[in-house]
């Protein structure tokens, strides 16, 4: 099953490489990974999406917890949560397709953030499925370039991941 694990860790040089090293060292799989400092500059928050059996996921969370710089973590998929990924996508937008693309962007509630006579650059946020669906709807022939942030997530309701 796919899991989204959110990790709070010391914002120190080397901490990220320990996390990444752990995944390759122990043969765990990483689908997406993102990391940035939090409002508390001594902490950074990392979100990793991974797949594995319950036993593997249990090992992943235990091994992550064991890293000295990891302060706290939560498997967001254990409860209700919101997951978002942001994509910037550069699309061929010339001739008669220009309008069609604009309409599709609107339907997906994306924003065109840069325009040239033949190219739209679109910003789109949502869960992974939505981003995939958008690319499908546009059709791969029109896609020039994509960049995705990887998933970040947060629990619904009162639950917070903080120290």
């Amino acid at each position: 099953m796919r899991h989204i694990i959110a990790v709070l860790m010391e914002n120190e040089a080397g901490a990220l490489s320990r996390v990444v090293g752990l995944f390759s060292q122990r043969n765990f799989n990483i689908e997406t990974l993102n990391v940035a400092p939090t409002e508390d500059p001594t902490l950074s928050r990392l979100t990793v999406t991974t797949t594995g059996s319950d036993r593997v996921i249990e090992q992943i969370t235990k091994q992550l917890n064991k890293l000295i710089e990891v302060v706290k973590l939560v498997d967001l998929t254990d409860g209700d949560h919101i997951e978002r990924e942001m994509m910037l996508i550069k699309l061929k937008a010339a001739g008669q397709h220009r309008d069609e693309i604009k309409r599709t962007v609107d339907i997906f509630r994306g924003q065109i953030v840069d325009v040239t006579s033949s190219v739209y650059t679109v910003q789109l946020a949502g869960d992974q499925g939505k981003l995939d669906a958008f690319i499908n709807a546009i059709g791969e022939t029109y896609v020039l370039e994509t960049v995705r942030t990887g998933v970040s997530g947060i629990a619904r309701g009162e639950k917070v991941l903080s120290i």
Partner: protein
């Protein structure tokens, strides 16, 4: 406040930590530190002949004493030479602090002379590592390193110090913290009471229980408590390779070692058990054989300080995260209040069954009638001359398994071997590390002619510091363990497992000023051992020629269950 240079701070921190000995080797990036070391005499330094030996000395000291061992090496090759020893300590959860020099900060990343990213290289084999970015952080970082290395599940910690952090003329305020708190690191100090209660109820209800005692009990200094528990409940005890000595081998409740070369009775008992209480053992592949076929009727109570060890390979029915010592103490407390005990009849028939298994094999081996020694005989003779009291530091191979099987350890922390990594070359430096700290104790290195040659340069260190260890070289003229596998799985094609051009070990030892005795016949063995152990102040190398055709048995059949074993060359369970 006192003003010290970074180099002085390193040494002062070690003093304030109460470190008596460090093991190391100087080089460019640690010269400031070595100069600070020179100007004091509280911290003593042992100059090894290869950095790997420094790490094994520190490691073995830690295993024997429970205190972290300390290593000092230079950047680049000094640090990479230490990696095998760091990995060895990591696999066996041994507390160790390794201080490595690094090139000047402004050169890092430029492929400077003797620059190696040792933080990157060591990352998978350390509990943690630190880089010093500011000389002011040295004392606190070293304190943290000791704290992390020795608390929770112990392990090696590397502190990487760029040379410019130790400049003698740059002075900073020094104070050594008394305590350290880290918000991101809080190892468990006791187990969950509810789980412990559940475990005790299961122990009392069990009909065929076995206690599996591992390195976490020996390292966690919880052997007395574990033994008290076993005796209170009359439970059979099997000690893993890392747990040997954790329960007296002379006790009738001891079954021997489990696993690949475990005793017949231990493997049979585990296979048929209805309950396994694991105290600081981690169910590694050399113990479990096939995990799918592992102990089909047993429920498992798993006590470990490291949650990630629990249910990693074998699912635990009752996981208990905590130090073995406090968990077992709590169990004993509950048994004190709760007078319920296991069903006496059930236990009696369990013991009866175990005694029958004991009779079936019982460590039996054949001797030669032409005087050619069997390795098992050598170990038994060493046990005899040392009254079973020696620290036995082993290398890796058949001789290691024979030592584990036939030197019946009654006390913990006396059996010192590289269990997890299986590092050939470990035994000799390990023996040196123990002898340095326990000069009055008998310290034996059991080795093979293959393993010994991986760190034989340390003969020189032994002369310099007067370390009269006794080296029992079980010489079968081959990489015996490799050869055994080739015999069993490759139709005896001995690919590269025969040792040609062995040195004249007598002359070699003598060249360094040591004594040596060669033994080629059974009749020479006891006299040679007695003579060697009578030379209290001499390192004695015993080159003992043994039967190269001997195999280690029992040996589990690969990919099978615990009870599937070869008992000798022709007989299978």
């Amino acid at each position: 406040m006192e003003m010290l240079s970074g180099a002085e701070m390193v040494i002062r921190s070690l003093q304030d930590e109460g470190v008596e000995y460090i093991y190391g080797y100087p080089g460019g990036s640690v010269l400031h530190i070595y100069d600070a070391l020179f100007q004091q005499d509280k911290v003593k330094h042992v100059l090894v002949r290869h950095e790997q030996a420094a790490t094994h000395m520190a490691d073995a000291y830690a295993r024997a004493s429970g205190k972290p061992g300390v290593v000092l090496v230079t950047s680049g090759p000094g640090a990479t030479n230490a990696v095998t020893g760091i990995a060895t300590a990591y696999m066996d959860s041994i507390p160790m602090v390794v201080i490595s020099g690094q090139v000047m900060s402004h050169l890092i990343g430029e492929d400077a002379f003797q620059e190696t990213d040792i933080l990157g290289v060591s990352r998978p084999v350390v509990k943690h590592n630190f880089a010093i970015k500011n000389p002011k952080d040295i004392a606190e970082t070293i304190k943290k390193a000791f704290y992390v290395a020795s608390s929770g599940r112990p392990g090696p910690v590397v502190v990487d110090i760029p040379k410019d952090m130790t400049t003698p003329t740059d002075k900073f305020e020094y104070s050594y913290p008394e305590q350290i708190e880290m918000r991101s690191y809080n190892p468990a100090t006791r187990g969950h009471s509810g789980q412990i209660k559940k475990a005790v109820d299961m122990l009392v209800a069990a009909k065929r229980p076995v206690i599996l005692l591992g390195g976490g009990t020996v390292g966690g200094r919880a052997c007395d408590e574990a033994a008290a528990l076993a005796r209170e409940l009359n439970t059979p005890v099997s000690t893993t390779l890392m747990g040997l000595g954790g329960f007296p081998a002379s006790d009738r409740q001891w079954l021997g070692m489990p696993g690949m070369h475990g005793s017949y009775e231990a493997n049979m008992a585990l296979h048929h058990a209805d309950l396994i209480l694991s105290l600081g053992a981690r169910f590694d592949d050399r113990v479990t054989n096939s995990t799918e076929k592992f102990c089909p009727t047993a429920r498992v109570i798993h006590v470990d300080i490291d949650p990630s060890s629990i249910s990693k390979t074998i699912a635990a029915d009752v996981p208990i995260v905590g130090p073995t010592k406090s968990v077992v103490t709590e169990m004993l407390g509950l048994l004190g209040k709760n007078k319920a005990r296991p069903d006496a009849d059930a236990l009696a028939s369990w013991w009866n069954q175990i005694d029958q298994w004991r009779e079936r094999h019982g460590g039996h081996y054949e001797t030669n009638d032409n005087g050619l020694l069997k390795p098992q005989q050598v170990i038994e003779a060493v046990h005899k001359v040392t009254n079973g009291e020696a620290y036995v530091c082993s290398d890796v191979g058949q001789h290691q398994m024979f030592a584990a099987q036939y030197y019946k350890f009654d006390k913990p922390n006396r059996w010192i071997n590289s269990g997890g990594l299986g590092t050939m070359g470990f035994g000799f430096p390990a023996a040196m590390g123990v002898k340095l700290h326990y000069p009055d104790a008998e310290v034996v290195c059991v080795t093979g002619e293959g393993s010994f040659q991986m760190n034989l340069q340390e003969f020189s260190t032994c002369s310099q510091y007067g370390l009269p260890v006794k080296i029992i070289c079980i010489n079968n003229g081959s990489l015996g363990m490799v050869r055994q596998w080739q015999d069993m799985n490759y139709e005896s094609r001995h690919s590269q497992s025969y040792m040609q051009s062995l040195p004249d070990f007598e002359k070699l030892a003598e060249a360094y000023g040591h004594e040596a005795i060669t033994v080629t016949h059974e009749s020479e063995l006891m006299p040679a051992l007695e003579k060697a152990f009578a030379m209290k102040d001499k390192l004695v190398f015993l080159d003992i020629h043994v039967d190269a055709a001997e195999h280690v048995y029992p040996m589990q059949v690969p990919k099978a269950s615990m009870r599937d074993m070869w008992l000798n060359k022709t007989e299978r369970t």
